[in-house]
Symmetry: C2
């Protein structure tokens, strides 16, 4: 009866890239084995990537995944026990499964029992739930296996069936996406589950950006009493090395109607004393965490979609400044291009700020004035307007000309266009469809304007001096689509607007309740810019 | 013991418009009562509209729906029994329910037991399943109640629990969207269910366009032996008047653990002999059915989103010709505007065809040549290209200029832009993002090119002469974005491409299987236009 050495392999696979992902898992498992690991756990659906969505309805995707799993099993060090999430097809059903690989073969498979079907999750659309948890048993050590949601329902079946099972460890493999304050929420849930099962909890989470989602990693080991023993890095691939020690004493007999039990000879003797003490990475502060999430989401969208370079329209305002800074931090200055597109309504101040930002960031930046194009449109369209007064049409036209220019640069050079709209303006419609909304990835679409300011100030306080010109941070926001325009001509001040949006969009409050809380009714009568 | 007179009220509500929908239901119920109906059935979720999606997660939407239901119950003729679908909130759960209204109150509620969660359906995300079917019993007549999916699973719980219940009628209230060949599929399913339960089946379906979906109506009465006794119109609101006659003989006792039973005094004596014989509307042929579905989807998108007029870019090609014809058939010529936007690559033939089409349809049409705008872009952007050869960039630019022009018309006049891309070009990427894809509603996005031709020819054979110029139908398809361009320069011929797309997109076949069936491998190496 000895301790097991376990590596929680917090990897960053790509949805659908089965062969690439298998290669990634193989390399991580080999590295863990070289360090002395006896068991390597990968995140939920690590072989397929998460979320696989309707890909799992393609029969050839499922058969390809099964073939890659067999190839991986054969290629792994045979003494290693490896847990790999993959989509399992069986008898016309599809399961969110974790295969237990050993000795070149699939020793057992656990099927996720609780399928989340809310928020970003659609698993009941994709998968059939499993019936029983799995217990790995060898050499006096019992490890119970859960997949993500299984551990989130305290008295759900996956929990009830492991209660009293004499576990030495609950191992949860997850693909749990980041949102604001998620880390504390998640640790609280796992702590409660571990205390309920009277077992330590090892948690292996996915990391990486995948389309709209960002997985934050932060894999974890909690003691049975809830103490944090080890934590992997947030927002980066990592290998967290932990140890599970048998509690000793007699184990209760397990009822095969309640749990599947996999017994196996157990790991080979651990190789010496090189196994490190548990590593507890510090947690990023709230602003740094959001910045890291945005940076990772941006980087992985670019990389996983195989773009080499990006282009950003720089207005001299804070949104495009933050996006450009994130892009440089994520990709390096050499892969980022700026373009300024001044019109008659652009001020010298914003134009200078755009150039200064590019200079601070060290990115290539070109200027393409849109004045002549705008004038040509106005002349050509005049015959259609038959004397109507200028309105949002002329404003939107400028944004759409800029959209055309950045898309032309994208087509000609293969650059991905990053759009710069924040959540406050997107939620109120203060933006132009097919104009500033035109592009491939909306970096800060889920960031309210007040948080944009906070992130910019935070980034300017980091090493290397202020990348974002102070005047960009201090200037009252303006779209510069007509003379002397300010956002607050059409919208409430952002310190009024953002709390309203949070209540309406995130909490589903009705207008009456928001007003009752103290916002003036006028605040809720928004005057979107149109488009 | 006498027959019940039932009206299947095939109505067209709008998602979220609770007060408007309640008014619509009230008027339909009053009209049915005036004809002598004793029971009026409305479709699934008729009060909320279908699909309500995440609206049901807003607590105030649910409480507003409950309030509207109570107001409706109080306003209805008190002797009438009325079945109304609505989202029911109870103890933190949400049900897809049908309320039974009578005497100014809610007599009972049935909760949908089988929640579809595939294809266009996400009901397991939204609703909790009900536990028991409902039987309405009065004056010797037994009617079992199902909601949509409940009748689609032959040995599912809603079916098993009504088997042997001695029903005189199974009443299914549905929101079943149209797709190609859906009518025969649906009638087959209902016929099987009725034969299994040994009861006639009355089926009340929703009608109308709602965003991406079109509900086709075609409410139905099948005899217990499967014969079609009555059918309402397809793609139109309708009131189908039917009668249920008690089978006579002793009824089996019902087990309240298996079904909920609502007993009530039964309908007042039927008012005379004015009740009509069952009406069996003929079924549209396959092409007419698709045309009617597209027309209804277009009309309702415009109306439900409160647009008054639409604008369409007319290229002289068959896609825009079909869309314009559909728009005129749906909205009338006075509400439809055309705009032709020739460039240096537009031929005199296509330009003439566009004008002739507008003339045939009697729609206002303006011409706005994009030559000067295109030239200005090329000159302004030349500095960026640094001598690179022309490629898809210059082609996409023209499409994007046209996109800007139609969006400017939309902004200035409030017209909805109808886009004209067909399924074949959208599936292969043979279109321009933010160019010809820019607009508010993509009328034929789910129509493959071969079907576009078939629909155009079919429409030209209808009364009033050929609206679409014969030369538009006969000309080989071209995007006219470079000199002498033809679709078949970049794509396989459509009679090769469309069958490939059907297998790949609709049937999830892998490339190998499509090739093995006889398509040359070259067919699958598509060369999308980019963008």
């Amino acid at each position: 009866m000895s301790a097991w050495r376990i590596a929680l392999a917090q990897v960053n696979p790509t949805v659908g890239a089965l062969a690439e992902n298998a290669e990634l898992l193989l390399r991580a498992a080999q590295a863990a084995a070289a360090r002395g690991a006896q068991l390597v756990a990968f995140p939920e659906l690590a072989l397929a990537g998460y979320p696989p969505e309707d890909l799992v309805f393609k029969p050839h995707f499922l058969s390809d995944a099964a073939a890659e799993l067999r190839r991986l099993a054969a290629a792994l060090p045979p003494a290693l026990l490896v847990i790999v999430g993959y989509p399992e097809a069986d008898d016309g059903k599809i399961f969110n499964a974790a295969a237990v690989l050993h000795g070149g073969a699939i020793l057992a498979t656990y099927r996720k029992m609780l399928l989340p079907n809310y928020g970003v999750f659609d698993e009941q659309r994709l998968f059939t739930p499993g019936a029983k948890p799995l217990v790995l048993e060898a050499a006096g050590v019992r490890i119970g296996l859960h997949i993500c949601e299984d551990s989130w329902v305290l008295h759900g079946a996956p929990c009830r069936r492991l209660r009293g099972a004499g576990l030495d460890l609950l191992l949860n493999v997850s693909a749990s996406p980041y949102h604001h304050r998620k880390l504390a929420l998640r640790e609280g849930v796992l702590r409660q589950m571990g205390q309920h099962l009277r077992a330590p909890v090892a948690y292996c989470n996915l990391v990486g950006g995948q389309d709209e989602l960002v997985f934050d990693g932060a894999s974890l080991l909690l003691a049975a009493d809830g103490r944090e023993l080890a934590r992997a890095r947030q927002f980066e691939e990592d290998l967290l090395l932990i140890e599970v020690t048998p509690a000793g004493g007699a184990k209760p007999e397990l009822n095969p109607d309640q749990v599947d039990v996999v017994q196996w000879p157990g790991p080979a003797a651990a190789g010496g004393d090189a196994w490190p003490a548990p590593r507890l990475e510090p947690v990023l502060d709230a602003t740094a965490e959001v910045y890291a999430a945005l940076k990772l989401g941006l980087r992985d969208y670019v990389e996983k979609n195989r773009f080499r370079e990006v282009v950003i329209a720089l207005s001299g305002g804070i949104d495009s400044a933050l996006v450009a800074t994130l892009a440089v931090d994520a990709l390096g200055a050499a892969r980022v291009h700026g373009v300024t597109m001044p019109s008659r309504f652009s001020s010298q101040d914003t134009f200078s700020d755009a150039l200064l930002l590019a200079q601070n960031l060290g990115i290539e930046c070109r200027t393409l004035a849109i004045e002549k194009l705008h004038q040509t449109y106005l002349e050509e369209l005049a015959v259609c307007w038959s004397g109507r007064a200028p309105d949002a049409t002329e404003e939107n036209l400028q944004a759409r000309i800029r959209g055309n220019v950045v898309m032309a640069l994208s087509n000609k050079f293969g650059w991905l266009v990053l759009t710069t709209g924040n959540k406050s303006e997107l939620a109120t419609g203060y933006c132009t469809l097919y104009g500033d909304m035109a592009g491939g990835f909306a970096v800060i679409k889920d960031v309210p304007k007040l948080l944009v300011f906070e992130l910019a100030r935070w980034r300017n306080r980091q090493g290397g001096g202020a990348a974002i010109p102070p005047s960009t941070v201090e200037r009252p926001p303006t779209a510069e689509l007509r003379a002397n325009q300010k956002d607050c001509d059409s919208l409430p001040p952002y310190d009024v607007l953002d709390p309203i949006l949070e209540r309406y969009v995130e909490r589903d409050w009705p207008a009456e309740k928001i007003i009752a809380e103290g916002c003036a009714p006028a605040c809720t009568r928004l005057d979107p810019r149109g488009g």
